[in-house]
Symmetry: C2
Subunit: 305 residues, 2 copies
């Protein structure tokens, strides 16, 4: 099992020619999920050759402009491209009014239907559940209502050992039972242990997106054991008071969350423009945590099991 995270932007606040605000594409189980959508995201999608038509789900963390100002443009471009498929948009309350107001005033009747899923509350919410994965919204702690998102692959069926299956002349109609872990009873009534026919499948992978948020250890129990945690680290530790004041995290905060959550890997992002050299984030994080990387626009981060 594997997933790929493509960073489209990982800068905080205003966009520049070099710094793009938050947006990323998660490719998990052959689905493309867009997470946050700062101004210029549609251009980044084109630049990195992401197929617009494969995006059916967009997750907006919160209603600060650097996380959603690109959405109305993308919604409009889907329409210009004559999209027919439904689009699902998840966000805290308010985004529907923002988008609908603009569509109404611009007299745009979209070629497709948008399902707005507006989230509230202080507990995790299962917001998507299909055959292969689930998505859960995770309350974060920021100046306004904010959700992170946890993407979890589902447990796969057990892998058939075809040599053993053929040796014991197992009927095809019994394959399913074996994949589900049942033992096998042969024509002579002998019960043969399932382990003869199958092996463990790869463990399902988990990805958690946590931005923007202050240090908020409450979330660690919800994202326990994730394979990758993207956690904002707007500032270095030297500005921890500014981080507290603005509802953001320092590198150290992000590392503490990763450790407490037993995250296998940590990816830092949402960097303040005051640090043109982002290696400083990596250097500070490496003091406390080994499996850490820094986001970089255009870069793919790939995780396998």
């Amino acid at each position: 099992m594997s997933f790929t995270l493509k960073i489209l932007g990982c800068s905080s606040a205003t966009p520049t020619t070099k710094a793009h605000p938050s947006a990323q594409i998660l490719n998990m189980e052959e689905k493309l999920f867009l997470i946050d959508c700062g101004e210029g995201t549609q251009v980044q999608l084109r630049k990195y050759k992401v197929r617009f038509s494969k995006i059916d789900h967009i997750f907006i963390s919160h209603l600060h402009g650097d996380h959603f100002f690109g959405l109305i443009g993308l919604v409009s471009s889907f329409h210009t491209l004559n999209r027919g498929k439904d689009l699902h948009i998840y966000s805290p309350k308010g985004l529907k009014e923002i988008i609908i107001t603009q569509l109404k005033i611009t007299k745009t009747q979209l070629s497709y239907y948008i399902h707005f899923h507006e989230l509230k509350g202080n507990e995790p919410i299962l917001i998507h559940d299909d055959k292969k994965l689930t998505v859960t919204a995770i309350p974060l702690k920021h100046r306004i209502k904010t959700f992170g998102y946890l993407f979890e692959e589902k447990q796969k069926e057990r892998k058939l050992n075809m040599d053993a299956v053929l040796n014991h002349e197992v009927e095809v109609c019994d394959y399913r039972g074996l994949k589900l872990g049942k033992d096998y009873t042969d024509n002579n009534g002998n019960v043969i242990d399932n382990s003869v026919f199958t092996s463990n499948p790869s463990a399902p992978l988990k990805y958690a997106y946590c931005s923007d948020t202050a240090y908020y250890p409450e979330i660690t129990k919800w994202i326990k054991g994730v394979d990758l945690l993207y956690h904002e680290s707007t500032f270095l530790d030297e500005l921890k008071e500014l981080a507290i004041k603005t509802g953001h995290s320092t590198v150290k905060d992000a590392v503490l969350i990763a450790k407490e959550a037993e995250a296998k890997n940590l990816l830092l992002g949402h960097f303040s423009a005051r640090y043109p050299n982002r290696e400083v984030f990596l250097e500070e994080a490496k003091l406390y945590f080994n499996n850490v990387e820094i986001s970089e626009k255009g870069k793919d981060f790939i995780y396998n099991n």
Copy 2:
């Protein structure tokens, strides 16, 4: 007298890495006017080193996304940059609701005040009048309510010929009368013609922005004799039926307007993405009109008298 027009974007419809939607900066009489503001305009402003703080007036032609989706980002960035000065935004009705809705929902209390000037009607409207220039909104013909904008320098005072002034020992308190064209009466009671002391000032310059619009000859009387006409030419003549259907102009339409308006220069823009080589617009226009150029992002067009 002179003005400079800097093109930030001149493509129709959706932005790409190469094509930026409508936005331009007019520098006239030491003021910077932003005209239209498609998605990514603030990045273009930074790229071409335009000083955000010098922009006090923004003119939006109409409420199609490729002309205003960048405005909320720019408004927010002004706030982030702690702007104190008032900002004036001119547009057809609806933009105020779009911007206010987003500020309200994002819980943003701006550091500065926005004056929304929402325009209506089918006649030109004088919308700005200061010591040095005026701006007039010009109704265009598009699928939704759309205004072009006419920027006119005011007539300067006559130029003093200082040699003559000193020869005739004219008192300083009489300079003003001479500049306004009055004759001069010397100490002996002789009336000396004003032309002895002054010469004609440069003629004031005029710039008209007309986008988006179908072929609409009604406007030519309002923009008569402009030094520069920016007129949209979304399509070549081969697609004139599509132009009519979508409320846009062909190159030929733009040329006809320029000729009828006796424009001294014509600048084409708002090009359809179906023409990657924009020289075709110039080639077609040159068949009918000599003083024509095509817009190009980042390029300055300078006009003098």
